[in-house]
Symmetry: C2
Subunit: 391 residues, 2 copies
DNA sequence: CTGAAAGCGCTAACAC
DNA sequence: GTGTTAGCGCTTTCAG
């Protein structure tokens, strides 16, 4: 392909040689200036910058990537939903990626698509990225420990430049997943960060962050227990989501730790509508005095159903949500809920991911647990002295 | 840079020549197969695909971009907020971009950042994209027609291929913004699609889509008027947002068309908290019987304040929201609101953007207006017969 | 401190 | 139908 030259047509974009010519230096020197390398005299640097500015020069990223083997981009796999949690996390990731000097490439997985995460990761690998963030993956099959041949597979390839840890992983052939059907294998040869879930892929370097919703769920449940409720019901999120399972686990742990009975779980789909449906069922059960909903939307739907059934929140039934969505403080009654530290999780995760990308030889940075807070508002109170039936 | 070769170390990623060698064809033929070009015999194609699969071959996108001058990527500039509207629009854009066979690159603008949209667009241009989507840009200075030297600048190259509407924009030299400080100008030399706002940049080809919130706001306001309200108050969004101005405009138009008085506007910041504050002020005004809030979050905060002040919604005051967020149907009372056609806007916008990218010479595709619906729930009703003071 | 030469892996003409 | 030849605009050696 020849550079466009026709007059009349917009001039082709200036290249580094053009800048070099104008500044009276070699092309390599221009490259040095733009890469902030040392050993360039201040005078030359100034001249180069000036020439570049005059020409409106902009580095060609494709050429850079081709020559250097690095894209300076990080890909993120998201769920393609505008739900408050995932959307907030994505925004946090964008900011963290940018703060670290990388560009962001986004691919959504379509819920229900069998290719799922594997397909999205593949597409990112096609585009070229130096690292991948998988945000809140779901597992079409259900439980985390399920062996799922349809799930993401990955073979791996050690490079000469892998870290200790990577080499270990690479050596661990047992981890290598064989494709069930025998079609192509997905090679993930860049570091991966998995947010709010255990890793669904095997890659040279896998980090996880924000996988602590269980602790937060425990705090929420214990708040209710401490208020005097005999036990706490749980309106769970769809169990394909690791995030939903985490919360359920935390709830169960809290109940068991406190010797409370573990009532059957109701599973919603994160929507207020599903919370509403669950609320109608729960309202029929006179024993229910406290419910921990896996997100605020469901909690709001739940409260509406309870209210319509003539139950007062919190006098008759206490409800705790999860997320602390923007309207949580303004619904009726204002919702007691657990705020999620999306930005903190994204920031810390990215700091660690970038560290691995840029220092493959160095030991990975340690992870730290995000805080588990609770915002107490007006949807929770002590249980009613006694309702219609004795327990 | 040399390809890694050490034995023991994993082989470097396979290239098309490797595939060619294995398949016993030329490298160009491999390229043909992967680009779905014609004139490749079925037999050869099969052999190539097989060899590629065996090697785990993956095209190098940087090389492709460098050689072809096309990145097959579209960049989107977003606001970096998890607000329901912007987040939904982003998801719609992602899907539309992917459906069109492009990759997505995302850059957020930081609200309040002077570089703003210009900086984000520049970063996208650095990365290399074939087209840019600017989603709900805001204008730090306020009104749309304000001359803002700090805002996005762009030089333009009108092409012979503009639509009527686009050509108008481009021809309108008055809109061309000169840089205040005299530093470099931002050259946007790829087509741009601006969502839910008039264009803040001048580029060779500028399209707009989803810029019809005024019609929807009009419908919302008229619903209230038709219910018998003498006038309708407006709780506006921050006026730096074009989306907020559009809604205000639609509201005002509806009032004027119907000969209703135009009460002073209260400006919120999209948050439920700001809606709550506005609600307290409005509650003190005995004449208020109907309020159109520029989004649902504010409407919810507003309703809470009204309720706390002893006013019943909708018996004393009717409230209409905007967006139809997931919980809108489940708050108390269920909210009458205007759903936004995010996916439709994104899809149509992208279809047109991709058309311009791939057929620069052809006339642009026509835009179509999205529908303006209204979901009537329980937050609106006829005004009270009369309240404390006569009008 | 600076420069020359050699690719990175692919697509784009143009032969055959 | 298929192969050959040149680059795309950088970064990377390796010389000075």
């Amino acid at each position: 392909m020849q550079r466009a030259t026709g007059r009349g047509a917009a001039a082709a974009a200036p290249r580094s040689v053009d800048v070099a010519r104008l500044a009276g230096v070699s092309q390599k020197t221009v490259s040095r200036v733009f890469n902030d390398e040392q050993y360039v005299s201040a005078e030359v640097r100034r001249r180069v910058l000036e020439a570049a500015e005059e020409l409106g020069y902009r580095r060609n990223n494709a050429a850079r990537a081709l020559a250097s083997g690095r894209t300076r981009a990080i890909g993120v796999v998201t769920l393609g939903t505008a739900l408050y949690g995932p959307a907030s996390l994505l925004m946090g990731v964008e900011r963290a990626v940018r703060d670290n000097g990388y560009a962001l490439r986004v691919v959504n997985t379509v819920e229900g698509d069998p290719a799922g995460v594997a397909g999205a990761v593949g597409s990112l690998l096609d585009q070229g990225v130096d690292g991948i963030v998988i945000s809140e993956p779901i597992d079409e099959r259900g439980r985390a420990d399920t062996q799922d041949p349809q799930d993401t597979q990955a073979t791996q390839d050690t490079q000469a430049t892998q870290s200790r840890r990577d080499r270990q992983d690479a050596a661990d052939e047992g981890r290598r997943r064989q494709e069930a059907g025998g079609s192509t294998r997905l090679r993930v040869d860049v570091p991966v960060l998995v947010l709010s879930a255990p890793s669904p892929v095997v890659a040279p370097s896998v980090l996880t962050a924000g996988h602590g919703a269980d602790r937060m769920a425990r705090v929420a449940t214990e708040h209710l227990l401490r208020l005097g409720h005999v036990t706490v019901h749980h309106l769970a999120g769809p169990q394909r989501w690791y995030a939903a399972r985490d919360r359920l686990e935390g709830w169960r742990t809290a109940l068991m730790t406190h010797g409370a009975s573990v009532p059957p779980v109701i599973e919603g789909d994160w929507s207020a509508a599903s919370g509403y449906a669950a609320g109608r069922a729960l309202a029929a059960d006179g024993d229910v005095t406290a419910v921990f909903a896996a997100n605020d939307d469901m909690a709001i739907g739940l409260i509406r159903a309870l209210t319509e059934a003539g139950l007062r929140v919190p006098q008759d039934v206490s409800v705790v949500g999860f997320d602390d969505i923007p309207v949580a403080a303004f619904v009726t009654p204002p919702l007691t809920t657990v705020p999620q530290p999306f930005d903190a999780v994204a920031q810390e995760g990215l700091r660690r991911l970038v560290h691995v990308i840029e220092n493959p030889e160095a030991p990975p940075l340690p992870a730290s647990d995000p805080p588990a807070d609770l915002v107490v508002r007006a949807s929770t109170a002590a249980p009613p002295v006694r309702r219609n039936r004795a327990r």
